[in-house]
């Protein structure tokens, strides 16, 4: 069985790409918050990616990825019509979604894609969803229009002020929380420092804060414990106990440290890949 790429959209050239993949049995079961694991070749490693969107009727699953290393660079070479050899999901516990009032969904970087699926889930449950997204500048903003189709409020922060608030998403979030005491939950997905900062902002407000952890994984089904993290002083596995946890309980320092575990190997792999690409192009 192989998994055909039905659509490829370059969101940020050389950096962020969206793929729509034909995987009916995954699409049928996938819920917001779930992730998939894919491989790009028979020699490939297992790459976990949070689902950005899915369409059960069309049988498609959408993923968005940032080119950070060899495996994602290789994934970026796939074009429409080509197929991935392995695509496994849905994995992880889905987001706990119920009608609860106002939910603020904060997304940073590629995390906006995963946040999009969760925000959509909250919106269809009848919640008032406020999306807060950020990027370095307006050209790097993801899913801004898509979020607008179901979120009554889309608040934007850019580092250079080219769109929305000049500054960080946390500043926008804080202001929004100060204006409205009835926010029932804040969801944050993005780089670790962002999620940590969001948790810090929401703490004094006493708002339930959910973060989605992008730990290193191997199997993604609980077998290996590579993704273990400390939540409320207890070791949890992001793949089967999460990936979503209470942001006020997560040991972000440990998570950041563990994410750097294979930095040297990742660089070695990437250099070799880039070298091969150059040779392939006859340079």
């Amino acid at each position: 069985m192989s998994y055909r790429i039905l659509q490829k959209k370059i969101l940020i050239p050389g950096q962020t790409t969206l793929l729509v993949i034909d995987a009916p049995h995954v699409a049928k079961k996938a819920k917001p918050g779930n992730f998939v694991i894919l491989r790009t070749s028979d020699k490939g490693e297992r790459i976990p990616l949070t689902i950005a969107d899915c369409d059960a009727e069309a049988g498609t699953v959408t993923i968005v990825f940032l080119v950070v290393g060899k495996s994602t660079a290789e994934l970026n070479t796939f074009e429409e019509g080509m197929s991935l050899p392995d695509f496994c999901g849905p994995l992880g516990k889905p987001t706990h979604i119920h009608k609860q009032g106002t939910v603020i969904c904060v997304g940073g970087g590629t995390g906006v894609a995963a946040m999009h699926h969760i925000a959509k889930g909250h919106a269809s449950a009848g919640n008032h969803v406020v999306a807060v997204i950020g990027a370095r500048n307006k050209d790097l903003l993801l899913f801004c229009n898509e979020l607008g189709t179901f979120c009554p409020e889309v608040l934007v922060a850019t580092d250079d002020g080219s769109f929305g608030h000049k500054g960080f998403v946390t500043e926008v979030l804080k202001k929004r929380l100060e204006e409205d005491k009835d926010v029932s939950e804040v969801v944050a997905i993005g780089p670790v420092p962002m999620m940590e900062a969001v948790a810090k902002v929401t703490k004094p407000f006493g708002v339930k804060t959910t973060v989605s952890l992008n730990s290193i994984m191997v199997d993604g089904i609980g077998m290996c414990g590579a993704c273990r993290c400390t939540v409320g002083g207890e070791t949890k596995f992001a793949c089967v106990d999460g990936p979503e946890f209470d942001g006020h309980q997560v040991d972000f320092g440990e998570l950041r440290m563990r994410l750097g575990q294979f930095k040297a190997e990742e660089q070695e792999s990437m250099q070799l890949f880039q070298h091969k690409c150059q040779c392939g192009e006859g340079k």
């Binding site: 069985m1 049995h25 995954v26 079961k29 491989r39 020699k43 490939g44 490693e45 297992r46 060899k70 495996s71 050899p85 392995d86 695509f87 496994c88 999901g89 849905p90 994995l91 191997v218 199997d219 089904i221 609980g222 077998m223 290996c224 414990g225 590579a226 273990r228 993290c229 400390t230 070791t235 596995f237 089967v240 440990e254 440290m257 563990r258 750097g260 575990q261 294979f262 190997e265 990742e266 070695e268 792999s269 070799l272």
Partner: protein, 487 residues
């Protein structure tokens, strides 16, 4: 061989050793350690079997192989005949010949083992099983049907596509169910969560003990018999048990394995350089990290490595670390060498290769530097106390006696606990006190009618062959229900 058994005089003939790669050569490669018998060696070893009237060896085998029968065929020089006997009981003989703990099973019961000074010791049943499976497969001509390989018969029975059975999990127990039922013409679909079928045979047991080509050979043969393998399908996520029953599967077998690695709950356990044995071995075996960067999955390396635990998984991890270039590899175990649950052969191989034993101690803390990278393990020294429920002496900490072992990599191999994914997604599935599936010991049937289970998800972590035994019992019951007297 012409003398009648009762008049047989047993001569002392030593067990025929199996050639191995020399230790200092094999720790530089990832190839199989034991090289297998030559024809002459197999013939000599088979001749040692006295063909007891009432063989005890068979009672020691979890799948009750007719050991006397297959060795008898070998004595006659009938290799296909020997293979046919093995295959009638065991769908993975090449695997079992390598990884079974024969010394506590068939060979432990062999009558020649009762008085080794006079007999030379038990017949090397495992080595002969491996010889038969490997040699038979090697002699199959290209184009010979897989059916010949599986059933020893040139043509398979008619397929019965209307009789569908599903297996969740692609390890030894499910493969046994699939092999058994497919040979009867029943249509089996195996749902495997990972990208490769074989379970512990591919992610856990290293290449140097069980070459993956052997596992693939068995699986390819099953494919040719009509078994369908669906990889990347997680039972309890992509597919539910009830959905399979609703889709017309007449029975569902759950063989999802032991599951989650146990950690020890000591400080510093999440530091960089501390791994579960499952992660360490999965990266190396399933991910082929020993061939990084040719393969993409990376592995963590260090000059000094400690493996915590004394079982076969610990031995596999320690010997893997040596092959990845570690200078010092320690097995840290809280009891002594004599209490280690590992097979003697594995322990001996590990020691030959240079693995150092640090017995009677256990980790108190995994010490990290300012970047939380592991630098040492603080150890609690132990002594042996009274026997516990397992019959082994309980390790008792010696108060105030601690030490430090400088290592950059620690691999924790202290067992597993049940994986919750399928269990949580299957309402009505009764679990036992330890959280594993409750299954009828005779038939493997669970609390849900038509749903069977076997292997580590029922017993907790055990051996490949015991999982296969459970698979075989379940398969027999499924066949009886589906085919009636025909089975």
């Amino acid at each position: 061989m012409d003398t009648k058994p009762e008049k047989k005089v047993i001569k002392k003939i030593p067990r025929t050793e199996m050639p191995t790669q020399p230790p200092m050569v094999r720790i530089r490669n990832y190839l199989e350690v034991a090289l297998g018998y030559t024809d002459a060696e197999a013939k000599a070893e088979a001749a040692r079997c006295i063909q007891c009237k009432k063989p005890l060896c068979r009672k020691g085998c979890p799948v009750e192989i007719d050991i006397k029968g297959f060795i008898g065929q070998l004595q006659k020089g009938d290799l296909p005949g020997a293979y046919k006997v093995l295959r009638d009981y065991n769908s993975l003989p090449a695997v079992c010949g390598r990884v079974c703990p024969q010394e506590t099973q068939c060979e432990g019961e062999c009558v020649l083992g009762k008085n080794p000074d006079k007999t030379g010791g038990p017949v090397c049943i495992g080595r002969l099983e491996r010889y038969v499976a490997d040699t038979f497969a090697a002699r199959l001509a290209k184009g010979d049907s897989a059916c010949l390989q599986i059933t020893g018969e040139a043509a398979c029975r008619m397929e019965r596509p209307e009789l569908k059975v599903a297996c969740i999990g692609g390890g030894p127990s499910s493969l046994t169910v699939a092999g058994y039922l497919a040979a009867l013409g029943i249509k089996v679909t195996v749902f495997e969560a990972l990208h490769e079928v074989g379970g512990v045979l591919v992610y856990g047991i290293p290449e140097f003990r069980l070459p993956k080509g052997i596992v693939r050979r068995e699986i390819d043969a099953m494919k040719a018999l009509g078994v369908e393998f669906k990889t990347n399908w997680v039972g309890g996520k992509a597919i539910l048990v009830q959905e399979l029953l609703d889709q017309g599967y007449k029975a569902v077998f759950l063989g999802v394995g032991a599951g989650l690695p146990q950690f020890m709950n000591v400080p510093g356990e999440n530091n960089i350089g501390v791994f579960s044995a499952n992660e360490y071995l999965t990266r190396v075996n399933l991910g082929r990290a020993y061939d990084f960067p040719n393969f993409d999955t990376p592995i963590f390396k260090a000059d000094n490595v400690a493996v915590i635990g004394g079982g076969n998984v610990a031995m596999d991890a320690a010997r893997t670390a040596l092959r990845l270039g570690a200078k010092n590899v320690y097995i840290v175990y809280r009891r002594t060498k004599d209490e280690m649950p590992a097979r003697l052969e594995e322990l001996e191989h590990a020691i030959e290769e240079g693995v150092q034993l640090q017995c009677l101690c256990g980790p108190l803390e995994f010490i990290g530097d300012e970047n939380r990278r592991l630098t040492a393990i603080r150890l609690q020294k132990m002594c042996l106390g009274e026997p516990d429920a397992s019959g082994r002496c309980r390790p008792v900490p010696i108060e105030g006696d601690t030490g430090e072992l400088k290592v950059g990599l620690a691999v924790i191999a202290v067992g597993t606990r049940p994986n919750p994914i399928l269990l949580e997604a299957t309402p009505g599935l009764k679990l036992n006190k330890r959280g594993y599936i409750e299954a009828d010991p005779e038939t493997g049937e669970t609390s849900i009618f038509g749903v069977f289970a076997g292997g580590d998800i029922v017993t907790g972590a055990a051996t490949v062959i015991s999982a296969m035994g459970a698979g075989r019992r379940a398969a027999k019951e499924i066949a009886r229900r589906l085919l009636g007297d025909e089975a």
